[in-house]
Amino acid sequence: MASHLPPRPTAQHSQADAGGMAADEHHHGPRGLKRWLLTTNHKEIGSLYLIFSLSMFFIGGIFAMVVRAELFQPGLQLVQPEFFNQMTTMHGLIMVFGAVMPAFVGLANWMVPLQIGAPDMALPRLNNFSFWLLPVAFALLLSTLVMPGGAPDFGWTFYAPLSTTYAPPSTTFFIFSLHLAGISSILGAINIIATILNLRTPGMRMMDMSLFVWTWLITAFLLIAVMPVLAGVITMMLLDINFGTSFFNAAGGGDPVLFQHLFWFFGHPEVYIMILPAFGIVSVIIPTFARKRLFGYASMVYATASIAILSFLVWAHHMFVVGLPLVAELFFMYSTMLIAVPTGVKVFNWITTLFRGSLTFEPPMLFALAFVVLFTIGGFSGLMLAISPADFQYHDTYFVVAHFHYVLVPGAVFAIMAGVYYWLPKWTGHYPHTRLSQWHFWLSVIGVNLTFFPMHFAGLAGMPRRIPDYALQFADFNMITSIGAFMFGISQLLFVAVVVLCVRGGEKAPAKAWDGAEDLEWTVPSPAPLHTFETPPRFEPDRH
């Protein structure tokens, strides 16, 4: 790369009319690997995020397969309990911070500028920085597997003192890797917020934005609010481990429960960070394939905002059995149940949008519909867990595992896949292979339910989570679960096949790839040129 500074401005403002027809010849940047290392383009960075997320999805998936292989039968067969614990921990950390969150950020990078008519993200260099922190962070996290004493083994929630006094030496590196991922998230969220608030095309009001943009705006706010709290709590862990402080040590006047309060003050908004963009994607896809306006647009926006605000007031429902005062048990029980109201509004609106629509069932729609049904199952089991006295029975059983996997796998992950199928024509210029997509969908749906539905029963019967062995009466449920898990895991190879085939060729997609699609991204050619909307597009909503 040329050494003179600053980089020459590209011919950004000379280009044609709405729709941004500027093609690749305006990309004067470096080629090959350097192009990806140094890029400031939101589409390239979006692709990087998505590819990174997919690789983490498989690494985290392999860890899950180790867990399920061990749990296929009662007794210890394949791995030692210590390694089993490392696998559950790393599976959770990788999936939450490495797969789901970066996938949504990748989709935001690609689609937010396209949906609001912006030339790029507001702060393109910062965008590149946010991404490249992630490979560093996760290389460090994965390297703990080969460190003396092994990887973190205290669960993805890393409760003190298990993660401080009794933790393996690699915990310090785990803390630093989480710091890096956290910095990445905060900077990414700042960028997304600035883009949405400042780079909308003239005439686009907040209430004209697509639901995907809205949900990301609110998610970005949540990220900026709670990732620093996570940074704070892991810093306190670092000090407890390495500098002899007693934040989480009662002998010095601290309190292990303080860790849980701080962690869940981050952790509960965090779970909404992983589902709100999913709501947005589904709210965009369902109207497209129902060929109707989204029912209750404004109520969707307000429901999202309500969920976000309530998410700060419910954290201790993760701690019902830790010994909270009665008044806290009651407060957190009721505030948690309150969240069912805005969530119910959303499910109601999706179903009402479907009502008397001209439905077709293309792959994105299949995943979106499965999302609505299966996420709702996860929502209902959440409502059961919210009931404090009942939670004394469910706590730390497989019922909890069933609950959060229903909202995360057929919830968040299905929404990500729906989004990928939906936008693949825009990214690659080709439709995804229909048959293969359908196989992927049905195998995933069957696999996911085989995996997680029996967990409800095992949990209600008292099977504890995070234990490599179990009593004989849980054997049947666990065998079904393991078969389902391997089925789900292997069928994700089909997903990779669909994506690779779609990148390489397939049925050509026009600019507006789906009949009922409305947002601005469908006004630019498929595949979208590297630079779009260098001149803000005209935006004329029909407001009726």
Partner: protein
Amino acid sequence: MSGGSYYVPASSKWPVLGSLALGAMMIGTGVVLVHGSSGMPIMVIGLIGILAVMALWFRDVIHESRQGLYDAQMDRSFRWGMGWFIFSEVMFFAAFFGALFYIRTFALPWLDGEGAKGVAALLWPDFTASWPLLEPPDTAIQGPHQTFSPWHLPLVNTLILVGSSITLTVAHEGLKEGHRDTARHWLTLTVLLGLCFIAIQGLEYREAYVHYGITLQAGIYGATFFLLTGFHGAHVIVGTLILIAILARVQRGHFSEEHHFGFEAAAWYWHFVDVVWIGLFTFVYVF
């Protein structure tokens, strides 16, 4: 809004180098903490790398700004960016203040047997809750002998930091009215006040360790004291470095009456650090 003039920078090598440098620093620090000083070189290289990348990255941004590549919309992007960054910092300190309040309001009284949490009291039956906590529950942990009077060094530091916010505002007013010398003088004074604060805080830390027995290991009082004042102090150091950079830019005439967001961002940051100190003075020192 934009008339198509929004500046999208071409590719840049600073972000990826920055992430490598940050990673190196963290890995190096981890090695130092876990295995000892063999990690020191990586840590130092990482730190130098970060500083270098920041300098070069900002140099690009300043250069582009001086070339007039940034329009009003870009200015708003920077404002939103800085504003939300400061909000994230607010939440970082909120976690620490939350921890302090939780310890004082709930954890210690419960350890003392208050409320319905009697079990905790069984651990150390002789423990009496108090704040500042001079005698931690376990006698193996040596608490502080005494704590600081807020009305000596902490009060002086409060006056210094509040004063520095005022001098900075005067400098800003000068800049807005085109009196670059006024801006320069008052900004210099602000930097000096920042340096005084850091020096006095250093003095206080020495006192804490040598005479007062307030250490990181001195139970929860020492832990929260150093956590809150330490991260605040680190922010004052960073803020002072930012102000020094801004001072250099004022001297070179980088800022016009209307167009000086670099200055304003630094000022926002400095005022934020000041507000955090007010919280610290109130809840760490006085009450």
